[in-house]
């Protein structure tokens, strides 16, 4: 396995005047993975994302121990903006992350700050808007865009700097299921095209099941499970209080495996599961 793009080493963290919110985090994000970060509300997922982006502890302050490495370098002493060149972070309140008046300016903002020349900025802005399905919207005022389009715009502004890692904190929390599926489809397209590493905080893993490669589950500030999706999902299934976090399809799969002592594949869709079940049980019926 090649070296992790994000590595937490014995990391502990507490916000100013608060209890410790992250305990002894040892975690690795593989390069090129599509990782889902799951956990109950208040488990520390957002804090973990902010630690990956170097915002914690440098921006908020607080007490910490251990280290976080991004692309082999410690985030300690690194400027948040410099880290953002390699790692794009979309916060849950993405609306407030937009700082400019028009779509084009929003994308150009980060690029200009990082010293790209105006011609390059123009090219990258155009490409980024095309990538997120908003071509030719450079001169649109932000209030002319819908909520979903604004989110895509922020995604475009992150993509424009060509980061190696993209982190999205609950990107579909305010969306209907159709919108959520469409955003993840877009994200997968970007993932395939840019060959980047993606980390998504998501409660409903059903949405990302077709694309996810790795899973990390956080429980009360500790890592409860991590690794390749199939392995980590098994770890989660074995902990009854976390079992409900798994996609319904995988809960069925593990149930069947337990009851019938089978070994089933890594189902990515209902059709896949149904096909395998039909095949296996047909055989069982024939054998009997």
């Amino acid at each position: 396995m090649s070296e992790a793009v994000i590595k937490f080493k014995d990391f502990h963290f507490a916000y100013l005047n608060s209890e410790v919110v992250l305990h002894d985090i040892n975690m690795e994000i593989r390069p090129g993975s599509f990782t889902v970060l799951a956990g109950h509300s208040g488990a520390g997922k957002t804090t973990l994302c902010k630690a990956m982006a170097g915002i914690i502890p440098h921006y908020y302050g607080g007490r910490y121990a251990g280290d976080v490495e991004v692309l082999g370098e410690s985030t300690q002493g690194k400027k948040v903006a410099d880290l953002a060149m390699d790692l794009g972070l979309m916060l849950e309140d993405y609306e407030s992350q937009l700082v400019s008046l028009t779509a084009g300016e929003e994308i150009a903002f980060g690029l200009l700050n990082h010293g790209f020349n105006p011609d390059e900025v123009e090219l990258r802005t155009k490409k980024a808007l095309e990538d997120v399905g908003l071509p030719g919207r450079e001169n649109y005022q932000l209030d002319e865009l819908s909520g979903g389009q604004r989110q895509r715009l922020l995604l475009a502004s992150l993509l424009a700097v060509h980061p190696k890692i993209l982190i999205l904190d609950e990107p579909v929390s305010a969306m209907d299921p159709q919108g959520a599926l469409s955003l993840y489809k877009l994200l997968n397209k970007i993932y395939q095209e840019y060959k980047m590493t993606i980390v998504v905080v998501e409660h409903n893993i059903n949405f990302v099941l077709p694309y996810v490669t790795d899973l990390v589950v956080v429980e009360e500030g500790r890592i409860a499970a991590q690794g390749a999706f199939a392995t980590a999902a098994k770890q989660v299934y074995e902990q009854e209080n976390l079992r409900h976090m798994l996609p319904a399809l995988w809960q069925i799969k593990f149930n069947l495996e337990d009851k019938f002592h089978l070994s089933l594949g890594a189902w990515r869709s209902e059709d896949e599961g149904l096909a395998e079940i039909s095949k296996k049980f047909e055989r069982v019926v024939v054998e009997r």
């Binding site: 915002i55 903006a81 916060l91 407030s96 700082v99 400019s100 008046l101 200009l112 790209f116 932000l142």
Partner: protein, 222 residues
Amino acid sequence: MKLTAFTQLIVVLAVTAWVFILPVQAVAIILALELALLLYIKHDRLTLAAIGALTIFTGMMILLQLLFRSPLNVALIGGLRMFVMTTAFLCLLAATRIQDIAQALVEKFHLPYEYAFMLTTALRFVPDFLVDSEATLDAQSCRGYSNRGNVFKRFFSYLAVVKPLVMRAVAKSDTLALSMELKGFGSNTYKNMKPQRLQMADYLVLLVTLILSTYSFWVGKI
């Protein structure tokens, strides 16, 4: 012909100075020109509403001066001067994007970039603030908020809306600050933008403004 924000700012500043220097008849002519220009640039409902609001405000200023026992002609001339100055700024805002004004202020007037950015950011969050205030008003109405009663009662009950609204605004500003940090906001923001180069039209307008501003000096010499 499109003038740069810098030229337009200079003209507005010049008009502001002329308002105090020129006789009242000339100021009235400037006002007529300004209104014609403003309605030529933009003649939507918002512009008319802005002119209306400005007229009411000017009337209030005149009344206030009269209350403080200023002579009528002084109050009227004072009101006229204020009206002309403000209309000049309205023309500027109607003709130029606020982003270009901010860039010109940093590039040419060396205004610290933080203040220039504040101009655009304030404008960016106005629609969001309106949406938030509506949502908060709805939420508090569900909890029994009512704006009935006398002025004082309404004022104090409105605090129930203001408090959560302020808290939301603070939370948003925190995210905004974090976002700016992530995007590397700093002096580069304006430095790396395409510079606003002056064209022939700009030089011509600046020259005319200079001649008009120093007219009395020239006339005296000749």
